[in-house]
């Protein structure tokens, strides 16, 4: 049996200057699952995503990543496998194309592979007309799509998305939802995303929901659902 993507064991996170942020006794996120993190503002969703991306280290407790304990700051395996798209997304100086290719450049992906990775994502998220524009000149929704595309071209095993649908209109939400759903089914991509609005959770049918309240797990369960709605 394959190992889960994440196993959290008595994980607690406190801010360096004090202040409780998150405490989770146990949480398992299955491989190839779609997990929705719900909860009100300040409930710890973003903190949990940062911990899952190994961009913050838990104050106490352990996080197993695909069965093994990763270094607190992450290691090569984690960096290769998990990518976080924060909200609001950060775009570096330069064009949208530069931003889109930045991860490929950093990871030294051979240029011969770039087109095959970029083309489907550009088409799926309708980024073609934006590529030569300055990244900083994009609207919030365009920046969101670009940042998600930048993560997807790296072909991670785990995609961590903070409020991925927050700035997207209905049409773009559906496009993104369909793309992510396809990647989850075909490539077994594990997706963990946060959303505090009910309708955005509906845009990507989750297999598992994790609800946080004041930094604690208030519920966690599986949802059985049929195939995605038409257009997804």
């Amino acid at each position: 049996m394959s190992e889960p993507a994440y196993q959290l064991d008595r994980v607690c996170f406190r801010y360096p200057r004090g202040g409780f942020a998150l405490s989770i006794d146990a949480l398992t996120i299955e491989r190839a699952s779609v997990v929705a993190l719900g909860g009100p503002n300040g409930s710890g969703k973003t903190t949990l995503l940062l911990l899952l991306a190994f961009l913050d280290r838990p104050s106490t407790g352990k996080i197993r990543f695909f069965g093994s304990l990763a270094a607190p700051d992450g290691d090569g395996r984690v960096r290769e496998a998990a990518v976080l798209v924060p909200y609001p997304p950060y775009l570096f100086r330069g064009t949208a194309r530069h931003n889109l290719c930045l991860g490929l450049e950093i990871r030294r992906v051979p240029r011969s592979q770039w087109n095959e990775r970029l083309a489907p994502v550009i088409e799926a998220l309708d980024l073609g007309p934006l590529l030569d524009r300055s990244g900083r000149a994009l609207s919030a929704g365009q920046a969101q799509r670009l940042a998600i595309a930048r993560a997807l071209v790296l072909r991670p095993e785990v995609l961590l998305l903070d409020e991925p649908f927050a700035s997207l209109d209905q049409e773009q939400s559906e496009r993104l939802s369909a793309l992510l759903h396809g990647l989850n089914r075909e490539r077994k991509l594990t997706i963990v995303f946060s959303a505090h609005r009910g309708n955005t959770i509906d845009s990507l049918p989750p297999l598992q929901t994790v609800r946080l309240n004041e930094g604690r797990l208030s519920s966690s369960g599986r949802i059985l659902h049929g195939p995605p709605k038409a257009g997804h």
Binding site: E80, V83, P89, F92, R93, G103, I106
Partner: protein, 216 residues
């Protein structure tokens, strides 16, 4: 007369440019280290650096004079009253300035830049470089401000350079000398040149800023 003026201007630009180059090479990694690493005494170091940013040039000149004079610990190097001594002194003067402004510039960069870079697979070093690139405008301004400070100071140039004709005479020491002699014409010309250089630096900053803003 004109050739001597040109020589003085050249000495000023050369020593100040070199001192900023040396200080910049040390200050930028120091600023990155202050930002990235958490170590005991880090805050005290930041406060100390901020204090040094306001250090009077004559105090720096005096301390280095004691080090470099014949009876001082570094007297055997024979650096006193050479352009190299001014370079060292001005580098010491602007090192905390570039460090402080660079630290502040890097601190202004959104933390998501570093997190995003690391999440995309960047090493700490690569993430640091990306953050530096995000702050490049403010960093360039830190360097230009340091150059303006170095080229317009007089205490170090006078105490460590000695205002020696055809060797260590800079614009500021020449202005002081010519004023003492009552030759206000030469003083005013040199003063105007100094102002033009400072103006040039400001124009460069504005042009650079404009380019960056239109890029965004």
């Amino acid at each position: 007369m004109l050739s001597e003026l040109c020589e003085i201007i050249w000495v000023s630009i050369k020593v100040s440019g070199l001192s900023v180059l040396i200080a910049g090479a040390l200050a930028l990694p120091a600023a990155v280290a202050l930002l990235v690493y958490r170590f005991p005494g880090r805050r005290a170091l930041i406060v100390f650096n901020q204090t040094l940013m306001a250090a009077p040039t004559v105090v720096i000149g005096l301390l280095l004079y004691m080090l470099l004079s014949r009876s001082g610990p570094l007297g055997s190097l024979g650096l006193l009253y050479t352009p190299a001594a001014i370079v060292i002194g001005q580098a010491v003067l602007v090192l905390p300035i570039i460090t402080g402004f660079s630290y502040s510039a890097l601190q202004q960069v959104d933390n998501r830049a570093r997190l995003t870079a690391i999440s995309l697979g960047a090493s700490k070093m690569q993430a640091g470089w990306l953050v530096i690139q995000e702050a490049r405008l403010a960093l360039a301004m830190a360097v230009l401000a340091a150059f303006a400070r170095a080229i317009s100071e007089i205490g170090i140039a006078m105490m460590l350079g000695g205002n020696i004709r055809h060797a260590t005479r800079t614009m500021t020491t020449a202005i002081a000398l010519e004023s003492n002699k009552g030759d206000f014409v030469s003083s005013i010309i040199l003063g105007c040149v100094l102002l033009v250089i400072t103006l040039g630096i400001n124009v460069a900053v504005f042009y650079f800023t404009g380019c960056q803003e239109s890029d965004e």
